[in-house]
């Protein structure tokens, strides 16, 4: 399941790209490609477990 804070945009945070790229609406920045696999839930990765940004945003930042 994809992170609800993931969007695909071609501009934002001072950048303009030719194609849409993963964008984190919590941080308002483009997402690193490896982190985007967490956002999209690829390879059994899961934002609720694996992403500290999501966890902190929803108030579950502690281990």
């Amino acid at each position: 399941m994809s992170c609800p804070y993931l969007e695909y945009r071609s501009s934002g945070d001072g950048y303009e790209f030719d194609t849409e790229r993963p964008f984190c609406t919590v941080l308002e920045t483009f997402v690193q490609p490896m982190r985007a696999d967490i956002c999209t839930g690829r390879y059994a990765l899961e934002h609720g477990r694996d992403c500290e940004i999501y966890r902190e945003h929803v108030g579950d930042g502690s281990d």
Binding site: Y8, Y15, F17, T19, E20, R21, P22, T29, F30, V31, Q32, P33, M34, R35, A36, D37, I38, T40, R42, Y43, A44, L45, R49, D50, C51, E52, R55
Partner: protein, 280 residues
């Protein structure tokens, strides 16, 4: 290999890590992402002095891709644009299963070399690239079957134990070629003494490649030149040319390494010389 190889004028093999998969154009717009961009970057890196190009593949969105199809497009684009450079595919893939990680080995033709991560390392706060021994062995076996030279990626000193273990479990062709990697997190701390220590702990007869992330790329690869090692530079590992100034291209980073090698009277290996040294 070591300081004697430097004194003997052993040519240095420069690997250009062109794109990677951790960061992309959001970190430096000069990072090549499409097959055409990666092919052009490979040609420029080869012209600047790189004998090996280390390749990853990406989706159209810049995100990581591991499929044979995507790697085929990248490797074809590189072959079309380069003369003789050695192609090395990554098999790294934090979070990805073995079935995905082995796909970069299945292009036609197979790459001459491929990376083989020697053990676990952490990513971000809650993610680990596990690289268990079973996966390492399976990837190595597929490389062996397809005639691909493994580049053993040693992210920390514990991975030197894993290299020794792999040599006990499998019959690797000589010379063993290991990349010593320095950076933050679970990587070896980036300090000259740790490079010297890692070299001391390599298996007898092994060749080594030197990789420092970020601001450690320049000093540690320069040290690698002086102690007879080979070196890896490129935008995968470091997006800056100097403090506060983004690198313009992979070729710019390769060209600086060539200038340093020439000042230090270390010849730069051609792809043909690199094939001879690596036993390809």
């Amino acid at each position: 290999m070591g300081y004697d190889d430097y004194l003997a004028g052993e040519p240095v093999i420069i690997t250009a890590a062109l794109t990677g998969g951790v960061h992309g154009k959001e970190a430096n717009p000069a990072i090549p992402e499409t097959p055409a961009e990666i092919g052009e970057a490979a040609a420029a890196a080869e012209a600047a002095g790189a004998a090996v190009v280390h390749l990853h593949a990406r989706r159209d969105t810049g995100e990581r891709a591991f499929s044979t199809e995507r790697f085929q497009a990248v490797t074809d684009a590189v072959r079309e644009r380069t003369d003789d450079v050695i192609i090395q595919h990554s098999t790294g893939g934090t979070g990805a299963p073995l079935s995905v990680r082995r796909q970069p080995l299945q292009t036609d033709p197979a790459p001459e070399m491929a990376s083989l991560d020697m053990g676990p390392l952490n990513r971000y706060d809650h993610l680990t690239s596990e690289n268990p021994r079973g996966m390492v062995d399976e990837l190595y076996d597929e490389m062996s079957e397809r005639g691909i030279k493994p580049e053993l990626e040693v992210f920390n000193d514990g991975h030197l134990n894993e290299v020794a273990g792999l040599l006990e479990r499998r019959d690797l062709e000589e010379p063993v070629y290991a990349t010593l990697i320095f950076g933050g997190g679970t990587l070896s701390p980036p300090h000259p003494r740790n490079l010297l220590n890692a070299i001391e702990n390599l298996p007898e007869g092994a060749l080594f490649n030197t990789l420092g992330f970020g601001p450690h790329q320049l000093p540690l690869t320069t040290m690698g030149l002086l102690v007879g090692g080979h070196v890896r530079v490129g935008l995968e590992d470091n997006v800056y040319y100097r403090r506060g100034e983004l690198a313009e291209s992979n070729a710019q980073l390769v060209a600086r390494t060539v200038r340093l090698a020439e000042e230090l009277e270390r010849p730069v290996a051609t792809p043909a010389q690199a094939r001879s040294t690596l036993g390809l």
